[in-house]
Symmetry: none
Subunit: 307 residues, 5 copies
Amino acid sequence: MTERVREILGWYSSDTPGTRSNIARMLNHGRLGGTGRMVILPVDQGFEHGPARSFAPNPPAYDPRYHFDLALAAGCSAYAAPLGFLEAGAADYAGEIPLILKLNNSDSLIGGADPSPAITASVDDALRLGCAAIGFTIYPGSLARNEMYGQIRALSEEAKRKGLVVVVWSYPRGSGVSKEGETAIDVVAYAAQIAAQLGAHFIKVKPPTAHIEQAAAKKVYEKEHVPVGTLTERVRHVVQSAFNGRRIVIFSGGEAKETSAIFDEVRAIRDGGGFGSIIGRNSFQRPRDEAIKFLHDVMDLYAGKTK
Amino acid sequence: MTERVREILGWYSSDTPGTRSNIARMLNHGRLGGTGRMVILPVDQGFEHGPARSFAPNPPAYDPRYHFDLALAAGCSAYAAPLGFLEAGAADYAGEIPLILKLNNSDSLIGGADPSPAITASVDDALRLGCAAIGFTIYPGSLARNEMYGQIRALSEEAKRKGLVVVVWSYPRGSGVSKEGETAIDVVAYAAQIAAQLGAHFIKVKPPTAHIEQAAAKKVYEKEHVPVGTLTERVRHVVQSAFNGRRIVIFSGGEAKETSAIFDEVRAIRDGGGFGSIIGRNSFQRPRDEAIKFLHDVMDLYAGKTK
Amino acid sequence: MTERVREILGWYSSDTPGTRSNIARMLNHGRLGGTGRMVILPVDQGFEHGPARSFAPNPPAYDPRYHFDLALAAGCSAYAAPLGFLEAGAADYAGEIPLILKLNNSDSLIGGADPSPAITASVDDALRLGCAAIGFTIYPGSLARNEMYGQIRALSEEAKRKGLVVVVWSYPRGSGVSKEGETAIDVVAYAAQIAAQLGAHFIKVKPPTAHIEQAAAKKVYEKEHVPVGTLTERVRHVVQSAFNGRRIVIFSGGEAKETSAIFDEVRAIRDGGGFGSIIGRNSFQRPRDEAIKFLHDVMDLYAGKTK
Amino acid sequence: MTERVREILGWYSSDTPGTRSNIARMLNHGRLGGTGRMVILPVDQGFEHGPARSFAPNPPAYDPRYHFDLALAAGCSAYAAPLGFLEAGAADYAGEIPLILKLNNSDSLIGGADPSPAITASVDDALRLGCAAIGFTIYPGSLARNEMYGQIRALSEEAKRKGLVVVVWSYPRGSGVSKEGETAIDVVAYAAQIAAQLGAHFIKVKPPTAHIEQAAAKKVYEKEHVPVGTLTERVRHVVQSAFNGRRIVIFSGGEAKETSAIFDEVRAIRDGGGFGSIIGRNSFQRPRDEAIKFLHDVMDLYAGKTK
Amino acid sequence: MTERVREILGWYSSDTPGTRSNIARMLNHGRLGGTGRMVILPVDQGFEHGPARSFAPNPPAYDPRYHFDLALAAGCSAYAAPLGFLEAGAADYAGEIPLILKLNNSDSLIGGADPSPAITASVDDALRLGCAAIGFTIYPGSLARNEMYGQIRALSEEAKRKGLVVVVWSYPRGSGVSKEGETAIDVVAYAAQIAAQLGAHFIKVKPPTAHIEQAAAKKVYEKEHVPVGTLTERVRHVVQSAFNGRRIVIFSGGEAKETSAIFDEVRAIRDGGGFGSIIGRNSFQRPRDEAIKFLHDVMDLYAGKTK
């Protein structure tokens, strides 16, 4: 148990030893084990975007075991997926990697400005499958946000009582925010704050842009000279917005993009005090060997082995 | 226990022995027992379309025992029906054929673009009636989809704990998809994925057309050259979309049609790696002897006895 | 136990000893302990307005421990916050200051004339975290008001059974009231009455203006010569409207403003028989030392140590 | 919050903030507040021994309010009693002193070698009455011990979840121990260990004698030269036996006796690292003023103000 | 994940992925991780035999943290203890070593031929404390045996549903067996079989002697020439009796004894196909450095590093 992990566990002093054990399991697993940084493999795109959009670029990824194997081979901190994907591999990979069961999901067969995911698994499913954590997506800015906040409140209370960790994906979207606003620095910082106030242990947000969405916020950013010019500064501000760095905030990779662009992003997250990345499409849509090399490179950046 | 059935059971390693036993019961029953292929008789049309539309073409089919007898005589893998039909025969045919209790159903007395079925039976009903599985229909694309996903989540958790198999009918329909889109290859593949991610053991979809409904999907199908020109290719893609073939996917016969057209469809399903057919109207609306002959012919195609 | 606190406890004679103990704990804590007056530190602005708008003016306030420390150092009667902020400090500050867990919250990423907060924590969370009270906001005038009244009814019944205090923030807002009407004397008095009738032990309202919103009320205020010309008179009327002074009514400070203006307001609240202030932004957005000095000054006004 | 109290709270790091808050409340209350020492007034003798035996020596003590008042006036850390006594005063003394609700009690109208107390109140009663803790007596050595251990297991789990403290009176008695053995050093140390292993936060035992009851223990005490010659040494051994001093152990005064004898006992408890005394008959059977003087003297000894 | 661990997990294919994960956690932890052998540190002697008999030979062991530290430093596979000992360290050592919560315990203050332990903790306690397993002692041969079998049945069902491992201590004792019979080979083999039939995942028994207790058994052992002359043979027979080696059987060290005698025992267990040792008094009653050296030596024997 490194000093850094022990320090992080100290931020969760209101939680049970069970929850703290599962936080430790994730922080101690894989190539970044013990550093206080994490790289998580999330694969919910099959449900969220459809199978071909998710897996056709790298067809072995249609197989649920592929992702368990990829996460293990790359030394990820944890693997997150919906019920079906975890059920299809949890027994065969029992005890090999911390699992995060996504408890809600949206498909994209029906549109609408205001996302409203379905509950697709339970806390008891997470125990049955040997998971370390539950995952849940909230969409601040959606008209349906309050329903989601109420759902995670109840699921989170149950998960904490049963010794699990609560990971919240906080993605501003819906009629309350513009398309550009979804990644605006004020909105992303706000989304991190909301997840933290709802009691999330780990928070996942998107890397923010320098855009400021809300007029009332804009005034404050300008008046107080909050530095948000570079991604590093913005990451620092988001981490600050999640209880001054006392909650683990990790950043999503977003759409598949060029490797060098991702490395730049990772450097900025690292230098801004972000705790890591959750990288889905950018890893599982590459050929396996390339993905492992890529994830190792990302981890080496976080570990400070490379600059 | 054949090697093939043993292999299939291996895909369900997270499930209890009870659920695995019931999967095995269905895979080992009837003329296709042991082949890994299935032909299921489903009779929920009385509820879904009304009695005359369903049974007037072959009046003995008004009698619930007719369907038990037909399924047995034809050597089907299982018989699926709503509560009433099963209650009317389950005692007399106890232990003779695996039963699937449909837990939700829609009647067609009131329309609406977005289907939203009623829960019409329970998991405990399924135990009481000696069923091997529960059946449940979801309508991805309906505004009411999330309610259905939430219902099957809870029913499925209970059914699995109690050793039953979960069969999900996944039929895209509603304001999220066009009429043509209901059977579009991208949409059907997506529907199969959703059912699999929700934890279904068996998935029933419609044979897909070559139409691609969603613009975002179309780009990927073209870029990645996903072959969807023939039904065989499309079946292969759907099966791939259900965990790379590690979930049992069966195809519905749909509306009554010419026998030769069905045989062509069955050949394509078989050659594309589909696990079988679920054939309702095309069997029970024919005279009994003709239906048995027809079903035997379908099974022989699946068994590779005929080409 | 002072005579005044004993007198106040006498107003809550239908409540359990547990609830009365927690009322006493708050009335006896801090610099105003025993006076029957209270100054509470509330910090839900991170959720309600976003992190930068709340904490950028005084960045140490991003840290959840800052507020526990500030409330303690300033000698506040209690500290109120949403789940996340309390979980992040409740163990480390166990037993040092009475806590109020805000059970509902609204974010401001999506607008709408009629506020409708989400439930974000439970009564059992309050017990687990060692809180003395639950807090809940109602928005009389909102189309969603009845939903909120129903929620607080249930939460309040549970909280009282478990020995907790019920603190209701009663903020008229929504399509039922004009912007000016939100702080109109008739509306604020009405809001206090509603909270009291819903069974609140402590009621938080905004300092009212002399504006009278409702025509039917206006007639009576004029006919009966209800004095509402000065803030002192209006506070007296609001306190009277909350069961003739037999419920604790405290007033919010509202937006950050000049110190002298706040002191004038406090004098008026004090002289009108108000029980104290709940001061968020005006305290935690100042530098720590200044905030402590400011809060001490406010308390000295309430304690009658200064005029 | 003194350093010593903070250190003690650190021993209970698996507990909720609620439980830690109530531990702190008791450690911070009264004349010994902040010292890490406690003097508790327990009055369950009315139930255990009958009213005249308990209260006739000082008739005002028949009145339940007498004991609240005595505990307050003397500056005790907490007051412990059965349901009825607490119900008779909890509202009038709400918030004035931490309360411990004794959840089980035995009357002495029927004898028997093996005590087996009745459950006389619930954890929810404790919340309703505003208590900081539940109290429970176990009788190791009784044939009915396992029933008691099972009861405190369940009550303790509930109390901890609801933020209360668990105080266990551990009194060896029954056919498993001789009369002399009830206070034998090996038996009392064992009783403290049992209570600690059952999850007690505070443990109450009797001052042990130098007698060693069990042959198997006697060998070890002799072989390992465990010093048990003086009461101070024996207290040190008992405290060591309760998790090496990491559980709060307090000692009962036992039967009414001479004041100087009690002071000697208190000195030994203090010097042996005991956390304090729970003094019933020796306080409430004296006239009020004398009792207060006596309790103050005891506290001064614990506080190190006198020798 | 080594081949051996994978093979062992295969024996538990009826269990949930959660339970299999926790079996894997224990098999993969510590110095013997991956070998399929285990050395577990159990410390329930404080409750079972009393504190001085347990800890006086090595006084630092009075401190609950000592055992967490010892188990970690020695590289044990898991640490087993009653509720109090685990609560006193589970938060501080969160995630550092697999924990087994002993759910029942007997004290030795009262004798009797037929042991009957008390339930002292719950499955939910195990989740709350982050344990990998529950532990439970049965006493075949006791008049109270059926009560214990019924208790473990219920606890085991719950533990398995929640993803925990079930460890059963099976100690023949009571009026059904003679003192010599408690470790008779037929009785120990029978005790292992009973635990296995009750659904235990791990079984703990005592090293058997060559004595044969039951006349009916004796006939068969003789007739079938079951070899039980050496400890290695007897261990082989006990392992065979626990489902032909398809359940993990570990052997207790028993009373403190000479090191060389223990090494001989370990060699016999190893050569007979036993899965390891659970060593309490022989480790924690030695000075820490000596204990670590001793445990390392034991592990090296199991790992085949030494002979």
